[in-house]
Subunit: 386 residues, 3 copies
């Protein structure tokens, strides 16, 4: 149990109606999180993934993916240290032969003690797994709290005609700094030199602030919970002025007429962003900030496009590889990554949540913190990792 | 004083009659521990060793080894940083000339302050040293608690006709995970692929469980305290079965008739294992798990053989170099080492002692924990390191 | 807020009249500290420096140096990560455009939110800066506590005819171990093999102890506060004796007549040493132990010489480069540096302050600890870093 994952009580008490968000340093339990792309785990393959501070095994058996804690019940060693999979369905601990069934977590045998009364009476922790849109999702939580996956992904993500491509990377910051970096409409300032603008058919202001009504909270009982921010109801700022002098201007081209105002962003529990018309009209970026531990998150970056023919699919796959991945997911978003990483120290001891000095448009972030606190289905705490 | 060496009170309170064992994260004080082989310290040589969280100097003077804390009384610097040994019997601190006699620890002078009233009135901590069977033992504890070395080594180790050879390595785990790995009869499962079996004249089951009476506690007042486990009173398991199917079998050869049942193991305070008839009939393995700090132990591995002639000695020395060291101490035991190291994280915050899920044959380990708690002569605590 | 910068209450309570010194693990607030040499910061240049646990920007604008905390008020990121200096006087945060004026710390704009009501109403922390004798000094403290620089440097340092040359290095120890190493008259023992003695025109004893009256406390209201130690009132020790035998002697040459008795040392708040007639008669060494954080200090080493002509200046500059820097600041003082670094572990958890065993001449250090506790203008605490 590392000290850094324990949230300071004095800070939690100071933040009022977003206390739950501050407490969720290790993420919210009882939600679905993507951990890998489906095509990264072939039939019969085993992998180790981290999620909310836990270490898990995933294995694909007869096409279906299962997930189990990577820690033997007996002496707590990682099963993955030397995975003995003597049968398709089981994994045997290399140390003393404790053998678990992937589908249920049942302790089906102890090879060295075949008559132990523990056999058949103990279970290792397993978690539900689902695959959708080419991603493997794990429900990290308690059996009686399972909700449909559709409640934990942004609207439209599960649409049948959506083709999704992407990548993932480990970022050295808490997951919340990822979520806030993404949803924060102001941080466009950081992207003022992006190479992506040469491939986009609209322009970039250096900032924009929401007018009343731009930001909406979504709390339908049967759907995902989140906050939407409609950039068409924003006032863009094109020029940066210091002491009466224009010092910087947002890149504008006469040849294009759209602005980022056609974009809208929304953030959803348990920590996934949707950006409409991005990186270009006709595309939608969906990205997850998956808590690995208190100091790292898996940044799962995807772009979705509606496709109806094989030709559509091929064209999107080609553009993704040549444009949207290098200039968007790699180029544009790499700036977001270092921004999150250098923000981490200020929030690492929790005091950042009370010492920060937010400005008016950051009220969108406060909405997100409140919605997350109201609808997060549980807090992952260090005790849960034992 | 590092935080990791402080034992959690809540855990210590939960474990009942083996509380002392849980508290002895830094080892048991007032016992004898081997730190080096005698032939590693020539006449007049000085070395630094660690023991139970302390850093010590050892020096051989006129054939006799002495041990002293490697920390000047004055400003706490390591004397070994630049050892000024101006006379055979003394060491002078490089910083201000505090000079200590190895035999007594007396502050015999302060070279830069020859009239200080501290001189002759202060002592640096020294510990008793003995050499036996080619090992240098230090009694790490208080002067009035010294017991004979014979009470802290396994029966037979001091036998005059025993020839002892060995090596030592640093292992990145708490010492108790070393002791339990060694004494645990079940962990033979880990050795199922060992190259050692090509050189042994008996077979390996994949597991074996003690029948009533196999395990005995030894608590003679005048001798070492420990637990013995007689493998001839065990039921061997030759086949591992999952879902009714034999998935693995212990290696058996028609050409040899013995089994590991001729082996017996025993574990002794302060943390030393004896394995009879191992690595082969006629040999005995003695191995120590010497606490260096809360997270590391010195694994002192030795093999003893009764010898009566020079020919016997030469034959054993030759077999040791060509067979027992590469295939036993290096090969077979290297699996034990990584097993201990990957077990460490589960026990590092102490919760492993209450979260583990032992099975029936592990009752032998519980006996050991209880015996150690009853007979350990003191707990090394972070305060003792000041 | 790192744990290692929090001082143990039990230790602070045990040390009586030098409690403030023990508490000042991060240094004393409200004092002037040198951070760089003036010639290291050209016109328009920006640098990051550390001081008492804080990270600061320094910039030279129209010849004048200003200092500002390197942490945006908004989300706590380092401005230096990608310094956007769109005008000479300002720095703009790369993340959201918060723009600060160097001279005042005023938040003069938020480029992406030009109508925010925060603008003109918030300030980032700035600190007064002065340059003297080729050094840039920062007053790390509160505006209403500023004192003249002359009260925080040793007597004579600001003399107009003094030419000062030097260098700086980072040392891995708390600043107090630097100050005590320097002022401690006994530690000459460590320098017994220095190459510097070939260039000095006086001899080295191996130790020397103050006679009554040698040590004086200086507490003039209008001047610097410190302790002086006059080596001409010391008794030198030339021979080190163990068991009646001379084992080492201080280097003495028939050809020179002076001894180190012509040297005097003094230590001044907030942690600066003056050594008269050192490294040679006619020179004065001034050296600062500037707290960077709880475990590191900036060792600012300077040598001053009275000069009256251009010829004097050239001669000193030449001797500095060829003799005093390589054999004094680099050679002689490098021994001091490793001595401090290996002393650090004993004091790192604060217990060293009560576990040390000082000898009689160390009473000079106790005087210094008391004077520092009485006259330090404030303690830098972890809370101040928030």
């Amino acid at each position: 149990m590392s000290e850094e994952s324990i949230v300071r009580e004095d800070v939690a008490e100071m933040v009022g109606d977003w206390r739950g968000y501050v407490e969720a340093k290790l993420g919210f339990r009882n939600h679905w999180y993507p951990v890998r792309f489906s095509n990264e785990l072939g039939e019969g393959q085993l992998q180790v993934v981290e999620l909310l501070g836990e270490r898990l095994l995933i294995k694909r058996i007869d096409g279906v993916v299962y997930s189990m804690r990577d820690r033997c019940l007996h002496r707590g060693v990682p099963l993955s240290q030397k995975p003995d999979c003597f049968t398709k369905d089981t994994i045997t601990c290399w140390y003393h032969g404790y053998t678990y069934r992937f589908q249920t977590g049942d302790l089906v045998n102890i090879l060295a003690v075949p008559d132990s009364r523990l056999i058949g009476r103990r279970k290792i922790v397993t978690y539900p797994v689902e695959e959708a849109q080419g991603l493997i999702f794990i429900f990290l939580g308690d059996e009686d709290m399972v909700h449909p996956l559709a409640r934990d992904v942004p609207p439209g993500f599960l649409d049948e005609d959506l083709m999704v491509l992407g990548k993932h990377r480990v970022v050295d910051s808490n997951w919340r700094l990822g979520a806030e970096n993404g949803f924060d409409g102001l941080h466009i300032f950081i992207h003022k030199d992006t190479t992506l603008r040469h491939y986009r058919t609209f322009n970039f202001p250096i900032g924009h602030t929401p007018r009343p009504g731009a930001v909406q909270v979504v709390e339908d009982e049967e759907g995902p919970k989140g906050v939407t921010d409609d950039f068409s109801q924003h006032d863009p700022v094109w020029d940066g002025v210091i002491d009466g002098q224009v010092v910087i201007s947002g890149p504008r081209s006469e040849q294009v007429h759209g602005t980022s105002a056609s974009v809208g962003t929304s953030i959803w529990l348990p920590g996934v962003l949707k950006v409409d018309s991005f990186p270009n009209p006709g595309l939608t970026q969906f990205e997850w900030y998956v808590p690995l531990d208190a100091k790292r998150h898996l940044y799962v970056q995807t772009i979705g496009k509606k496709v109806h023919t094989e030709e559509d699919r091929n064209a999107f796959a080609s553009d993704f590889e040549s444009i949207w991945k290098p200039h968007g997911l790699d180029g544009f978003n790499s700036d977001d990554i270092w921004a999150r990483e250098v923000t981490e120290p200020f929030y690492a001891d929790d005091y950042g949540w009370v010492d920060e000095m937010l400005c008016e448009p950051d009220s969108t972030l406060l909405e997100w913190r409140r919605v997350a606190s109201r609808h997060g289905r549980g807090i992952q705490t260090p005790e849960k990792l034992r």
